[in-house]
């Protein structure tokens, strides 16, 4: 039973090393490789010796961080929590974004890692998204995590000058926003910039930086509207339905003329001789019939005219607003911000 538990414990402790095995195998430093092999063979004392030796050699910051991490893992396996924590602190200072997978790594190790993280002052996960925004009216978020309460000073430095984005106490997840303006109140010129976050707490201090590429450009102007969506102009004239009104009017006019001429005839001169009025009267009646059969003339549709005038007025108002907005947009600068790879350091 005791033998089974020892094997199980050894497997759990070996897992983290296996997780980093592939990356360690790729290292050129032989001491670090041997330390890793010793750890995998559960020879923790040997692994500690070799990892310490590797840490003193000329290594890349990544390899150095891995050497301290192997040291921390080995100390934790030997229940030397204090020494494991110290090793993790060194590893975190070199690689502040390091995370351990709690589902795969022994709690003994992860608790030492958490203890180290609470003691060391580091800035983690400093990020800015690739974004385009209008300088002065928009903003781009800046996110990072500080492991302890510290005074934080966030600056942007580059060829266009410098701006202090924020300076305040902070802890945990910090979210800031930069409005795209430098200290002189104008947008930055094109170039490579650096976002620097400095944290200080007592005697400890830490700084992380993120290189950025900033490209200022013109803001797109809005096109003028030729119509309002969903508000089509209506026909301003409509053809009325066919009616008998023309023939009625023609007959009425003929009747008035005929009746009037009969009534006005002088009794002294006698009657008779109606061919003139009958000729023209018949012609007028015929014109009335033809006009009735003809397609009626379009008449103004007052409601549509009023509606169209309101739509045109609204369209003119919208275009005036767009013109005013475009005047503003022509003075604005659109910034394209592209973050580059990040670096960090302890001071």
């Amino acid at each position: 039973m005791m033998r089974f538990l020892r094997v199980l414990c050894a497997v759990a402790l070996a897992l983290p090393a296996a997780a980093t095995h592939s990356s360690l195998a790729a290292q050129s430093n032989s001491t670090l490789r041997r330390a890793n092999q010793a750890y995998n063979s559960l020879a923790y004392a040997e692994a500690i010796t070799l990892a310490r030796k590797a840490a003193r050699e000329r290594l890349t910051p990544e390899d150095q961080a891995r050497a301290y991490e192997l040291l921390a893992f080995s100390y934790a396996s030997l229940d030397s929590t204090r020494q494991a924590t110290e090793a993790f602190k060194q590893a975190l200072l070199l690689n502040p974004d390091r995370e351990l997978d709690a589902t795969r790594i022994s709690p003994k190790i992860t608790s030492a890692f958490a203890l180290a993280l609470a003691q060391v002052l580091v800035l983690r996960d400093l990020r800015m998204d690739t974004a385009e925004f209008i300088a002065g009216s928009g903003a781009i978020p800046i996110r990072f995590t500080v492991s302890r309460t510290a005074r934080l000073r966030t600056r942007l430095i580059g060829p266009g000058g410098e701006i202090t984005v924020d300076s305040a106490l902070g802890e945990g997840n910090v979210r800031l926003a930069w409005n795209g303006l430098m200290s002189h109140g104008r947008p930055p010129v094109r170039g490579n910039y650096r976002l620097i976050v400095e944290a200080s707490a007592g005697r400890d201090s830490y700084a992380a930086s993120l290189p950025l590429r900033i490209d200022p450009g013109e803001v797109d102007t809005l096109p003028h509207l030729t119509k309002l969506e969903g508000y089509d102009l209506l026909p301003e004239t409509v053809v009325p339905p066919r009616s008998w009104k023309p023939v009625g009017l023609a007959l009425m006019a003929t009747s008035v003329a005929l009746g009037g001429s009969l009534a006005l005839e002088s009794s002294k001169l006698g009657g008779g001789g109606r061919r003139e009025i009958l000729t023209i009267g018949a012609g007028t009646a015929l014109v009335g019939v033809l006009a009735t059969l003809k397609k009626p003339a379009p008449v103004p549709a007052r409601a549509n005219i009023l509606y169209n005038s309101l739509v045109r007025e609204q369209l003119a108002r919208r275009n005036a607003e767009i013109a005013a907005a475009n005047v503003l947009r022509r003075r604005q600068v659109k910034l394209a911000v592209v973050p580059q790879s990040r670096t960090g350091r302890k001071s």
Binding site: A250, T254, S261, L269, G273, L290
Partner: protein, 210 residues
């Protein structure tokens, strides 16, 4: 007057038009008594211009009138040259106030009266359809000056017009009827005689509207 001026001011201005037409007229003329009855025909023409609310129309006719079959054989034929000028102002949408001048000359002069007169009346023109119009006209005939003397305290004109454009609205068929009655009075040996004049004319023709 103020009301008319206000109405004129608020009426929308129509377009500018010029119309010229020619045709043939039938005429009936009676004077003094039922036996002085003449009938005839002849060419006619007119020009009218309209600009804004103002219009001007000039009509002319040359008629050959012969005694009607019911008249006595001693009557002689004569010719009539008639010209009338009317100026109008559109008061409301279809109503035009017109003032005009009429001159009618006969030859030989002894056959019938020549006279000139001023007219003042109204004309109501109504569009029946695109290219089809009908109009009624009436006017008071005043200040008549007769070649044979006398005066006319009462005179009236009545008119009916119709026009139709078969195809395009530029060329139109036109028909006009004019009725005129003038109550002429003369003094003969101190006695006042009534010698009325009554004429009617039907003009048919074509017109071109520009």
């Amino acid at each position: 007057m103020v009301l008319v001026a206000a109405v004129v001011r608020t009426t929308p201005a129509p377009a500018q038009h010029l119309t010229a037409g020619a045709g043939y007229a039938l005429s009936d003329y009676r004077e003094q008594a039922d036996f002085l009855h003449f009938r005839g025909s002849g060419p006619t023409g007119f020009v009218s211009a309209e600009r804004g609310r103002v219009s001007l129309r000039v009509e002319a006719a040359h008629l050959n009138l012969d005694p009607a079959s019911d008249g006595p054989a001693t009557l002689e034929s004569f010719t009539v040259d008639q010209i009338s000028v009317r100026a109008g102002v559109r008061a409301v949408s279809f109503v035009i106030i017109e003032a005009g001048y009429l001159k009618r000359s006969t030859a030989p002069g002894r056959a019938a009266q020549s006279y000139s007169a001023a007219t003042l009346g109204v004309r109501a023109a109504y569009p029946l359809a695109p290219g089809a119009d009908v109009a009624l006209r009436t006017a008071y005939v005043a200040g008549t000056d007769f070649s044979g003397g006398g005066s006319a305290p009462f005179g009236i004109e009545l008119g009916l017009s119709a026009s139709y454009a078969p195809g395009s609205s530029r060329l139109r068929l036109t028909g006009d009827f004019d009725f005129q009655r003038i109550d002429r009075r003369t003094d003969q040996n101190g006695a006042r005689l009534s010698v009325p004049i009554q004429s009617s004319m039907a003009r048919m023709g074509v017109a071109v509207k520009f």
